[in-house]
């Protein structure tokens, strides 16, 4: 395996790690938002009825 192929692997692994961090952050935000809305009994006021 040469140096440049290693660079490709590093880039792909960085993509996967960043994707996981990002996805977890979004899921955590949505979950916390859901809990707050549930607690305040507001319901999903910002999603459409349709």
């Amino acid at each position: 395996m040469n140096y440049w192929t290693m660079v490709n692997y590093v880039a792909w692994i960085s993509c996967i790690i960043l994707f996981l961090i990002f996805a977890l952050d979004v899921i955590k935000t949505e979950y916390e938002r859901y809990k707050i809305l549930q607690k305040k009994n507001l319901g999903e006021g910002d999603s459409n009825a349709e």
Partner: protein
């Protein structure tokens, strides 16, 4: 239950943190990439003299456009820029189309930037695969935007400044100030107008590259600390920077690379750096090209998500996207939603197609913007409402925008007529969906509620 109302309102409000420097960075950051690649196709279309003439004529179009968008943007301090203007001045259907045009202008530009990052990385060594770098740059910049506007635009300011500085490094490396020792081939600077005046019109399409997206500064109006000051100062300083940068770029590249070769170059400034044979300059331009692409993609993510957020907030598209992050105060659902779209187009690697759709969307929106300005001054003559900035010589800027935008579309027709028809078909289909399905969910009273609370009812309405 007053707190509930405040809580709900704060979910749809963006934080006011931006000053003129951020507006400058947002405008120049999106556009500067056009000086590192793309603009040189004007030379293939109209010769190098045609290229610089197209650059300045299209510069006029953008100066006029900035003047009218800044006036309207300083009065309508809402996220969405031309979209927000359209909703007050043209109505829901036009607002929906302009919002969609803005989103696709920026998403396609963002995908194009990422494709170029991948291509530059591939140019380093044949074993390098560009695809992970395309995805990585889009993911990283989207995450940065997700985490906060202030941080992402501050980083944009830094990398834009570095990218602009590398152009100056290249300029001074040519010793342009000394005709005896300069490395610029001044005697063969241009190949004239090989296709005559029609070549200049054909060159308009790629001349737009020098400035495309500068009008996006108006999209950040809602996040400015002082919209009336930040928007005109930032946008007009940005336009001056781009005009100077475009002229320098043309001068260096035309002086270092023969017109035939320059017209088909993928990275004209980087190729010009290679022609100097100075390792430091070559390295600087490699970094400058990457940074300009990243700055552009970063600004595009910011602008596209604001337009999508604004459309959602006004119920033109499902309201699901109109939520601000509780901690970072960014329109995070809009930001996340647009990521797979830009990655999908980045995957195709079809640079000319993504660029053409971006330009088509932008130029069509400019035509609507000129019409809006004419209507805006008719509805609200000077003195009737407070303006942060007054565009001088009205209606000349609006007419210049209208005429030059139509001429650019004519220029596009020479090489990309299928793209024009395809693009318009897409917007017509979207309009049919809007009229037949979505329009019944639009609360027209709420739609213009903010404007009505600021302004008197216009005469004749």
């Amino acid at each position: 239950m007053p707190n509930e109302g405040i809580q709900k309102k704060s979910e749809h409000k963006l934080s006011k943190v931006l000053g003129p420097i951020h507006i400058w960075a947002l405008g120049v950051g999106i556009v500067l990439v056009g000086e590192f690649m793309g603009w040189n196709f004007t030379i293939a279309k109209g010769g190098s003299l045609g290229s610089i003439i197209a650059c300045w004529i299209i510069g006029l179009l953008f100066i006029a456009l900035i003047m009218i968008t800044t006036e309207m943007g300083s009065v309508i301090p809402e996220a969405g820029g031309q979209y927000a203007m359209a909703k007050y001045l043209l109505g829901p259907l036009a607002a929906f189309n302009i919002g969609l045009m803005l989103v696709f202008e920026y998403v396609m530009l963002e995908a194009s930037d990422a494709i170029v990052v991948g291509a530059i990385m591939e140019s380093l060594n044949p074993n390098i695969d560009g695809l992970p770098f395309v995805i990585l740059s889009l993911l990283a910049l989207t995450y940065l935007n997700y985490r906060g506007t202030y941080a992402s635009l501050t980083i944009n300011f830094i990398i834009t400044a570095i990218a602009f500085f590398t152009i100056l490094v290249l300029l001074f490396s040519t010793k342009f100030y000394n005709p005896t020792f300069t490395t610029l081939h001044l005697s063969t600077l241009t190949n004239g107008l090989p296709y005559g005046w029609i070549g200049i019109i054909a060159a308009f399409q790629f001349g737009v590259w020098f400035y495309l997206g500068i009008e996006g500064t108006a999209l950040a109006a809602e996040e400015c600390r002082s919209t009336g000051r930040s928007l005109p100062v930032g946008a007009l300083a940005g336009m001056a920077t781009l005009l100077i940068g475009a002229s320098i770029t043309w001068y260096i590249c035309s002086g270092l690379i023969e017109a035939g070769q320059l017209g088909s170059s993928v990275y004209p400034l980087y190729d010009a750096a290679l022609a100097t044979k100075i390792p430091f300059v070559i390295g600087a331009l490699f970094v400058g090209t990457i940074f300009s692409c990243l700055a552009s993609a970063n600004g595009c993510i910011n602008d596209a998500s604001r337009a999508w957020f604004a459309m959602s907030r006004d119920t033109l598209i499902p309201k699901f996207f109109a939520v601000v992050h509780p901690k970072y105060k960014t329109p995070y659902r809009a930001i996340v939603f647009l990521l797979p779209i830009s990655i999908a187009f980045g995957f195709t690697g079809l640079l000319d197609q993504t660029v053409t759709f971006s330009i088509l969307s932008a130029v069509t929106a400019y035509i609507f913007t000129a019409i809006m300005m004419l209507k805006f001054r008719k509805m609200y003559p000077l003195g009737e409402i407070d303006r942060g900035y007054i565009s001088p010589w009205h209606p000349i800027p609006a007419i210049i925008t209208l005429v030059l935008s139509v001429m650019t579309l004519v220029g596009m027709y020479f090489g990309y007529w299928i793209n024009i028809i395809g693009g318009f078909a897409f917007y017509i289909l979207a309009s049919i969906w809007f009229v037949s399905h979505r329009v019944k969910f639009v609360d027209t009273k709420k739609f213009i509620e903010v404007g009505l609370s600021h302004w008197p009812r216009p005469k004749g309405y």
